[in-house]
């Protein structure tokens, strides 16, 4: 078993007729991901990349009842609506690539999804990849290889960087989940790590955190409470970032006293989690753990 996506994942692409949507749908298909349909309101009846486009997710699901996953490329103003639409169509997994969604919209849509039992990954995330099986996301796939490491990351390119460094060392990945950098996200760090923890193939979990929020502190607390049984290795980006400034779209902002890199690193160390100072130390730490 692997986490969230695999060969049984059947995908609808919301926003398939847009530039990014189409570009990445094609890359996903090439990777072997089973994309059955696309949705763009007002473009129902067209065909893109050989798959039919529908006006609504409901119609796509009626035509292809096996669809269980959506990936959303819809522009920010309509992305929350797209999430709600996917939830109402009964999809199990909804990966939201869109960045810049207003936080009040995310609050509403993600709460709705959680109440109805759909898993949302993102928004503002690179998606999920299970190397060799399926990719529901936008990550450059060639830096990921199958293996024993689960990756949970709040970052995009930094995830690729660390996967690449692992892969160069010959350490592959079960699944990598980019949970997204927005203040409000669906699947959070603790939940994603717990999914990895339950996956029999995952032997080590790499957590890539960053400043802002208290996700890393909460994960450390869960580890301390014994809720995670597998070894965890962490890196926290932003030790050099000044407080009170927003670092890019990522919503990495430090406020309310919590969320500094120091606080996160301290919490991890107190929970017995080895923390890399810089990304290149991650493979070393993983190797040490795997050797045990």
């Amino acid at each position: 078993m692997v986490v969230l996506v695999d060969e049984n994942t059947k995908v609808v692409v919301q926003g398939i007729t847009g530039r990014y949507g189409k570009f990445h749908a094609e890359k996903m298909m090439k990777y072997g991901t089973k994309i059955l349909a696309g949705v763009t309101p007002g473009k129902g009846g067209q065909e893109v990349l050989g798959v039919p486009v529908f006006d609504t997710v409901k119609e796509a699901k009626e035509k292809f009842p096996e669809i269980n996953t959506s990936i959303i490329f819809v522009p920010a103003a309509g992305a929350a609506d797209a999430i709600i639409e996917a939830v109402d169509a009964g999809l199990e997994l909804i990966v939201v690539i869109t960045e810049g969604i207003p936080v009040h919209d995310s609050l509403k849509a993600i709460r709705y999804a959680r109440n109805k039992g759909s898993v949302v990954v993102g928004p503002n995330c690179p998606g999920v990849i299970t190397p060799g099986k399926a990719k529901v996301g936008i990550m450059p796939e060639k830096y990921f290889t199958p293996g024993p490491v689960g990756i949970v990351s709040r970052s995009g390119t930094l995830t690729y960087e660390i996967a690449y460094q692992l892969t160069k060392r010959g350490i592959g990945q079960t699944t990598a989940i980019g949970i997204g950098g927005d203040p409000i996200i669906g699947l959070d760090t603790v939940e994603a790590v717990k999914l990895m923890d339950q996956d029999p193939e995952t032997q080590v979990i790499v957590v890539i955190g960053e400043i802002g929020g208290d996700a890393e502190e909460r994960l450390a607390a869960a580890i301390k409470r014994g809720e995670i049984r597998k070894p965890v290795v962490a890196y926290v980006a932003g030790r050099t970032a000044p407080p009170g400034k927003r670092m890019g779209h990522a919503g990495a902002i430090i406020s309310m006293g919590a969320g500094t890199a120091e606080s996160k690193v301290r919490a991890f160390r107190e929970a017995g989690v080895p923390v890399a100072d810089i990304p290149s130390q991650v493979p070393d730490l993983v190797e040490q753990v795997l050797k045990k």
Binding site: R111, E161, R218, T240, A250
Partner: protein, 378 residues
Amino acid sequence: MKLLEYEAKEIAKKYGIPIPQGILIERPEQVNEAIEELGLPVVLKAQVPVAGRGKAGGVKLAKDPDEALEKAEQLFSMEIKGYPVLSVLVEKAENIKRELYLSFTIDRANRRIIMLASGEGGMEIEELAKEKPEAIIKLPIEPEIGLKAHEAREVGKKIGLSGNDLRQFEHIAKSMYKIFIDYDAELVESNPLAITDRGLVALDFRMIVDDNAIFRHPELEAARERELTETEKVAIRYGFFYVELDGDIGIIGNGAGLTMATMDVVNYYGGKPPNFLDIGVGARRDRVKAAVRLLLRNPRVKVIFVNIFGGITLASEVALGIVEALKETEIKKPIVARIVGTAEEEGKKILQEAGIPLFESMDEAAKEAVRIAKEVAA
């Protein structure tokens, strides 16, 4: 996006929240007119979009006109956390009996809006959270029903209010919640919310509005502009993310996490980055060119370190942007690059031909950048 105090207070007033009588001035001399209308004593408050203004000396009490003019002049000559003081809010001083704290913000972990209240206002909430966490009452809000009046009232009782103060607290809390929703806010805060002779008054009132929701509040565009330094405005025009810091190694990365990690690596090897510059997702050569030019023109920058992991972003476009920027500027500065990912080979070729040193790992590239910076400085 942070509103200035007087802007946030105009909104507060519209929603029925009592605020001190006040007049905004844009030149020190105007303080006299303001005093004529308001009476004495007055409080002069620098209008800058940053927290911690009080500690930085941006708030002054004046008891007579001479003192007021003197202090107004002082304020207008100040720069607070990088922001020159362009306007000052003159307010009639209130007779304060007690200071409270009240705010609404987003509780990320629980994905909901939360109300924070304390009977101990005035202090910054971060400090209070550290020193006396038990003095902060937290009320999570169910979005489906919104802030419940009776729950706000129960919080009011917990922070020691009764009688009319309690009723007013409930009313102010409901209004602040409504502002929070109506304005797509990330923070609505009154600190202190004071008990005065005339009941509760929001002596200070702060609002941070979600940048991503500005399209729903076009009237606030001006506020967003103002919050940015000139260089940051250039960045926004070209679509990248730029934050100025101290230091001498200019960093260009793609993606917030990787860019922060790049800064961390530079720092790890003994360097100091003067900025955070994330060219964002899918940058094309124009954007990269503008980013490189920005760093070339920054006198603090001694060397530029470009670290790109191409996903959607094409390495070749990044390379072309760098080369074009160098061609078109007089200023020459050493550049160190590390490029991986989509169109990596083309990108590398372009940079090699332009004589830019290339590295396989970010660690090696960072070490070289640090070495160059020290060399240039020496």
